[in-house]
């Protein structure tokens, strides 16, 4: 083990670096055995057949063992895809991987991801570009998974027709989300890190409006796991400690390199692997993950599927925009607005808004803590209202809200700072 970790100090072949991700499906599969659920396969099928609409916590639907099986298989599928496509090891890859890793606890399944990926593949053929050029967008686009699942299992269509609708609309969504997401970046100028959530939110509004007009309303749910589970908490902490440990051994001048990350605004694109290197980036990911986990525990929250989605997304973007210096003002602002609104800080939905508000860290990084606090403060107000617009069919609801907040707030800030001069 020591030899392996010492070897990390040298520049690694790209493929070997990616193999480090295998740790994550492995601990999930280990968790499946520890959970020792005799009904694990039945529960796994139950998860695959769920309509997946927000908020469907798979820990509540299928229990710990089946959920970890779902998460592990999705993680494994993506790692193998990255290998097959010979993708370079980048911050964006980590952001994409950990986002779907987290959301596999909350809405993503093998059933609903595959049509979205196929849509990306069809787009790449249509646009005459390599699939590897857009695979990261397709991975993030898994946010639209509930559209697929809800068409197959939620709206009441029957048999083969339901599957045909779900798969074909999923492919269409996976196709069009790519150019739409790229175009919508300009709305917030890269200040909303979960940009696909913004694009998917707008697509979701159109989809839900069409379905509602045709007599198929979308009813939101709140299936949340409310048990303090030691297996889940251990998985979370082990993930952070693993990243910190590998980072520690991979970088001889760890703190010096980590300090290179802290002045970066976080605005897209901020790939930390380039200025700070592999070790410091992993270290940063572990630190922001621990910071978020501790916050949830201090505020009295339950580490359930929703929290895991939030924390793992923060870990992923710890390689692509987030660090303690630009996260804390967002946390402060969103906690403050939750208190102003009288929301219980230990509630899963409140904590979710606080964690996911970090989509706005580039505002804190670029314009300072004051504007970061303002961004976090505004985010909680907006995110509580916009979920119904897309009927919960966009898993990155906070990315949608964050896009709206960033797009408006950036103009306000730039105007006040004399942007027209």
């Amino acid at each position: 083990m020591m030899e392996f970790l010492t070897m990390l100090k040298k520049p690694l072949p790209n493929r070997l670096r990616v193999t480090l991700l295998f740790y994550f499906p492995l601990i999930c599969f280990l968790g499946v055995f520890i959970a020792n659920d005799p009904q694990v396969l039945d529960n796994f099928v139950k998860i695959q057949l769920s309509p997946a609409i927000l908020l469907t916590d798979y820990l509540e639907v299928g229990g710990v063992g089946a959920t970890l099986l779902n998460v592990g298989l999705i993680a494994l599928m993506n790692i193998l895809l990255f290998h097959y496509l010979k993708l370079p090891y980048t911050g964006l890859m980590f952001a994409a991987f950990f986002t779907i890793f987290g959301f596999s606890f909350l809405g993503m399944t093998l059933v609903n991801l595959i049509p979205i990926y196929l849509g990306g593949l069809v787009y790449s053929r249509f646009a005459k570009i390599k699939f590897r050029s857009i695979i990261m967008l397709s991975v993030f686009a898994g946010t639209l998974g509930p559209v697929v699942s809800h068409l197959i299992f939620g709206y009441g269509f029957s048999g083969a027709w339901a599957w045909f609708l779900g798969i074909s609309i999923g492919i269409l969504m996976g196709f069009f989300v790519i150019p739409i997401a790229r175009h919508l970046l300009k709305f917030h100028d890269g200040y909303n890190l979960y940009n696909i959530g913004f694009a998917a939110g707008i697509m979701g509004i159109i989809f839900v409006s069409v379905m509602k007009s045709l007599g198929y309303p979308t009813v939101r749910v709140a299936l949340l796991y409310q048990v303090h589970d030691s297996v889940i908490l251990t998985l979370m902490i082990m993930s952070c400690l693993y990243l910190i440990t590998v980072g520690f051994f991979a970088e001889a001048e760890l703190i010096k390199k980590w300090k290179l990350i802290l002045p970066i605004s976080g605005r897209a694109i901020s790939d930390f692997t380039e200025p700070a290197g592999f070790g410091a980036t992993l270290f940063n990911m572990g630190i922001v993950g621990l910071m978020s986990t501790v916050l949830v525990l201090i505020l009295g929250g339950v580490v359930n599927g929703f929290m895991l989605a939030g924390i793992y997304t923060i870990i992923g973007f710890g390689a692509f925009g987030k660090h303690p210096k630009n996260i804390w003002p967002i946390f402060a602002g969103s906690i403050l607005s939750s208190m102003v609104l009288g929301l219980p800080l230990s509630a899963t939905t409140t904590l979710g808004s606080i964690l996911f508000a970090t989509t706005l860290v580039p505002i804190a990084g670029a314009y300072g803590p004051f504007w970061g606090i303002v961004a976090g403060f505004m985010h909680v107000f907006v995110v509580r209202q916009v979920g119904d617009f897309h009927g919960g069919l966009n898993l990155y609801n906070n990315g949608f809200a964050g896009g709206l907040v960033a797009g408006v707030l950036i103009i306000i800030i730039q105007t006040l700072k004399g942007g027209e001069k």
Partner: protein, 115 residues
């Protein structure tokens, strides 16, 4: 093809914005497409630019090209002229060279069109 050209004009826009914000008094640009490669040549007058500043610009522009990042984020280039935009340009070009000469800065960017 149109996207390819739009990406080049965005790079030109971003570099021009950056240089003009750095108080350059005169700026000339030439774009030289040749087959699938394009050479972008910028010459700007600026007495205050130091070798250290130029090295920092070149370090940013010479980050490894990342097609995955470019495909997603290229629309951000040429829009704002603020902090991370040169970063995106760096991911979209294959190499950047530059030097200071008689009160001017010369920047030469090279980009290959790839799928």
């Amino acid at each position: 093809m149109r996207t390819h050209i739009k990406r080049i004009t965005s790079i030109v826009d971003e570099i021009m914005t950056y240089l003009l914000l750095e108080n350059f008094s005169k700026l000339s640009v030439s774009v030289e497409p040749k087959g699938k490669s394009t050479k972008l040549h910028f010459i700007s007058e600026n007495d205050s630019m130091t070798q250290k500043q130029l090295d920092e610009i070149l370090a940013t522009l010479n980050q490894p090209r990342q097609i995955e990042l470019e495909t997603y984020y290229w629309t951000l280039v040429g829009e704002s002229g603020v902090d991370m935009s040169l970063n995106v340009v760096g991911r979209m070009i294959d190499s950047a060279h530059g030097y200071l000469e008689n009160g001017s800065i010369v920047l030469i960017l090279h980009r290959e069109e790839v799928e």
